[in-house]
Structures are given as C-alpha cells and as structure tokens.
C-alpha cells in the first residue's frame, strides 16, 4: 500500500507557483490574497461536504465569526496578526463545537436548515450588537501591526497575499494529512455508508461533530485573514451568499478532493474578476451561465474541448 502519502511533483510546482505569485504579479497581489482566502474557506467546507457528506448552507457563520474575532481582537486587545489569527481560529472552533451538537441529529434536510439558521442568527447578532460590532456600518478602523514584527501590511497587498498563502499552505498540509489518515478514512466511510460505518464500530456522531469543529476553525482562519488583510469586518461576512458562493467554488473545483477547493477558488475568483471588469452590472449572468454549462457538460469534459463533438455525434448517449 502507498505508505505515507507522498507529494506528487505537480503539487510541489503548484505550491511554489502559488507562493511566488505575489512577488511576480505585484499589482495583482490583492486578487491573489482574495483567492487564497476563498481557497482556504472552500477547503474547510470540503472537509465536511466532500469528505464526510454533510451539506451545510451556513458555513459563513464560522467565516464571519473568525472575521469579527480577528477584527475585534486587533482593535481592542493587540494588533499582532498571528496572535489575532490564533484567536480567530480558537473562537470559531469553539463556535463550531457548539454548533456541531445541532447537526448530529436529524435528517439531511433538517440539518441543512439548522446550518442555515445558525448563519442567520449570527448575522443578526452582529447587526444588533452595534456597540461592539459597529452594526450595519461594519467594524472599521482595524489597524494591524507588522507581521512577525517586521513586515508591514502595504497598500498593494503583497504582504497580505504572502501571509494568506502561507496560512493556506499550512492548513492545507494539515487537512491533507487528515483526509489521508485512518481518521479521514472513517469520515469517507461515514459519507459512503453511515449504517455500515456504525456497524464496524465507528462512533459516527462523534466523528461528524469533530470534523465539523475542525472545519469551523479553518473557516474562521479564512475569515480572520479577510478581516486582517482588509482592515475591516462587515455584516457581509455572515451573509448567505458567502455560504452559497463557497459551495459553488467547490462545485467548480470538485468535492472530496482538497485541490478542488484551490482550483475552484482560482477559477471562480478570476472569472468573477474578469467578467465584472467587462460588464460590472451583469457579471452574475455570465457566472450563472458558466455554472449551468459546467454542470451540463461535466468538469472532465469541459477541460477537454476536443471531446465535445464526439459526444454530440453519438447522440449524447446517457
């Protein structure tokens, strides 16, 4: 059996390219930063959606919690980004642990509603507690200290992009170990067949709660990065469209495959950026069209245009 899961050459190339990108495309650093954050958020969702088979429409709850935790910490306690990020991860992990109690019971549909509900509750809390969160105006005036006491966050976002990419890389390595381990295999077993997973002695609810909590912490890290690198946290981080977008990102990149989150974030963010620069008003139309085509044609075939016609000729055999 393939003993410790080795890194393929293309993985090394990909990560070197990603980590070098802010240095090469200096004027695009803000965009790269955004991609890294979306990728981290998507990878965290994939842990529960792709690897464990739990559909969540409220993953933004943890993203938002991380964002507000990081912003508040910087504003009220201390401006160090790394400590702030750890706090963001800690707080959202805690929230994840509490919320995991709500999703281990019930059918898929009720669970979906619960995840949605948690997101709505948090958004409204952030809105109402305006003495703390700034309410609808958002939490402004978050000033970050330099990274490791040396690297200032510059206006062009180069430090931000490198910082986000490094955090993405570290947490990705963690997730990669996790999904290839016996623990990861028990998650896949739960996804494939919950009844049998139970019948071989896997504590199913416990495992679901645990992976949900881990995913919440990762999503919180992504939210924390957003608040830290933009110096701002607004109600928008909790919004439903964020949970929906991150699911689209996974659909684009592929679920149950950690690079799906990264690939999806790249494609989705670049596409969104590209189309909205051409048609700022109607870009969602084109994104929608792209998604419909993607699902109809299939990801595999979309990447191989030469196969389109052969399929048409064979009458789109199903």
């Amino acid at each position: 059996m393939k003993v410790p899961v080795r890194w393929a050459w293309w993985e090394a190339v990909l990560w070197i390219a990603l980590l070098a990108s802010p240095l090469v495309f200096r004027e695009r650093a803000l965009l790269i930063n955004e991609i890294a954050i979306v990728a981290l958020f998507a990878v965290s969702l994939d842990l529960i959606l792709g690897f464990t088979g739990i559909v969540s429409l409220g993953h933004a709850a943890f993203f938002g919690m991380g964002a507000y935790a990081a912003a508040l910490f910087a504003k009220l306690v201390m401006p160090d980004p790394l400590v702030g990020l750890l706090v963001a991860i800690g707080v959202s992990t805690l929230l994840g642990a509490v919320c995991s109690m709500t999703i281990i019971r019930g059918s898929d549909l009720t669970r979906l509603m619960v995840t949605l509900g948690v997101g709505l509750i948090l958004a409204e809390l952030a809105n109402k507690l305006d003495w703390l969160t700034g309410g609808a105006d958002g939490l402004q005036g978050v000033i970050m200290g330099p990274l490791l006491g040396r690297f200032e966050f510059d206006l062009y976002g180069q430090t931000s992009a490198l910082y986000s990419l490094l955090v993405l890389f570290l947490l990705f390595v963690l997730a990669r170990h996790l999904v290839n381990s016996p623990f990861g295999a028990t998650l896949k077993a739960i996804r494939d067949n919950r009844l049998r997973a139970m019948a071989i002695g896997i504590p199913v609810t416990q495992r679901i709660a645990l992976v949900y909590t881990i995913a919440a912490g990762m999503a919180g890290a992504a939210g924390g990065l957003l608040a830290q690198t933009s110096g701002f946290a607004s109600l928008d981080v909790f919004e439903f469209h964020r949970s929906a977008d991150v699911m689209l990102v996974l659909v684009v990149g592929g679920t149950g495959w950690l690079y799906g989150g990264v690939a999806g974030a790249l494609v989705f963010t670049l596409l969104q950026n590209f189309i909205s620069s051409i048609t700022p008003q109607y870009w969602t139309f084109w994104i929608g069209l792209f998604l419909v085509v993607l699902v109809q044609v299939g990801r595999e075939r979309l990447l191989r245009p030469w196969t389109w016609w052969s399929v048409l000729r064979s009458g789109g055999s199903k």
């Binding site: 059996m1 003993v3 410790p4 381990s181 016996p182 623990f183 896949k188 019948a199 071989i200 002695g201």
Partner: protein, 259 residues
Amino acid sequence: MTDITKNPVVLSAQGLIKRFGGITATNNVTLNLHQGARHALIGPNGAGKTTLINLLTGVLPPTEGRITLEGEDISTLPPHLRVRRGMVRTFQINQLFDSMTPRETLALVVSQQRGLGGKWWQALGAQPEVNRRCEELLEQFHLSSVMHQTTNVMAYGKRRLLEIAIALACEPRVLLLDEPVAGVPAGEREELLQTVAALPSDVSILLIEHDMDLVFSFANRMTVLVNGTVLTEGTPDQIANDPQVKEVYLGHGEGAQHG
C-alpha cells in the same frame, strides 16, 4: 457431533419484544448462542428474523427484554459500542463503502478495530501490522485479485465476500450473518460457501438463511422463528424431523401466511 449447548453462552436474548405501533414484530424471543456455535435462525418471510438482528445489534431499541453479551447487559448500548465488545454483523443487502477499494476498506476497518481510527497525522496503511492483517484477509476472502478496484465496480460475488470480510476484520467473537449467499449467482456461489464454512471456529456464529442446503451443511444448532416467536429450537436433525416445522415450511400452517 458434540452438544454445543454444553459450551458457555456468549450471546443471550431474554424475553425480547418489539412492537411497531400495533404490530408485534418480535414476540417474547429467548435465544442463547453458545461458544463456537454455528447457530442457524430460520423461518418463513416476515417471521421477524431481520428485526431480531436489528435488536441484537442495537439498530432498534427493544420494547421489552434484555440482551447480554458474555454476561454483560448490552441492551442499551449504541451499535458501535456493541461492535467494540465483539459482536459484529453482516447485511442481507451489501453495505459497502463504494468509493473505496477492498484494500482501503479493510485497512480502514482494521485500523478502526485496533483503536487507530482517531489517528489523523499518520497515513492510512502506514502501520505494518495493519497491512499484514489486511493481506491475510484479502487472501482468506479471495479478494487479492480485485484489491485495487473500486468496490462499486466489483462483481456481485466479490462484493458479497467483502461484505463478510469487513465483519471479520472487526475481529468478532460473535458474528451475525444475515443471508450471506443471498442473490449470489451460481458461478460465484461455491467460493462464498467455502469461505463461510472456513470462518474461524472460535467465532460464535448466528446465521440467518433461507438456503436450506447451506443451513443443514453448516449449522450445529437451529432455531425456527414464526410470526415473531420461537417455534422450536434443536439440533439440525431434530428440526428436520419436527412435524411443526414441516407444517410451517410446507405451507399448511396459518402462521406462515401472515406476519
């Protein structure tokens, strides 16, 4: 044949009752499985065999009655804890992990069985002792040739073998086999029958089966279940010659018609 009932009881159900609304699916069943037994549970369709298995394994809570495993009351334990105490089942309809290969499946089950299921840093299959056990199981269940195929593309007979291999990978002391040869085509049947016959003798087995050839060649103890109650229990010879059982199976008994 030695009398298996002289061995100590490993699994015992006492006065089990299960009602679904107004229907009594299991009606006051008492059953003892002895150490090393090959105990067949037979009965016409709808006799409540699968309900009984679900009660024993903890998928369903009993309305009344109690279940002990090696002397310990397990009536209220959740399914996965009963598995950890050594009682494992197979399913009448295959319950496999479709996206995994037999190799991965067994590595997972063996890891879980050895308490490594919570390990998240080391890779699956990084422990030599886990791998050794996997090789043994693949060999024993004639799965070596398909060990790298994804389970959902395997032939039905092989899937059936994997179904049992998963259970045995849990190192059971009590094994509940729910119609192990159901639906297996003739060409793949012999391999499966041999494998079932070669299961370790120290494992006590409760077998639910419709196939009378398998039952009579395999069992050393039999219980006949009709309408949720135990009609009779005895050695295969006693059962084969029991007029009540004949009546049920030849279809004269009213009891066989409903329930």
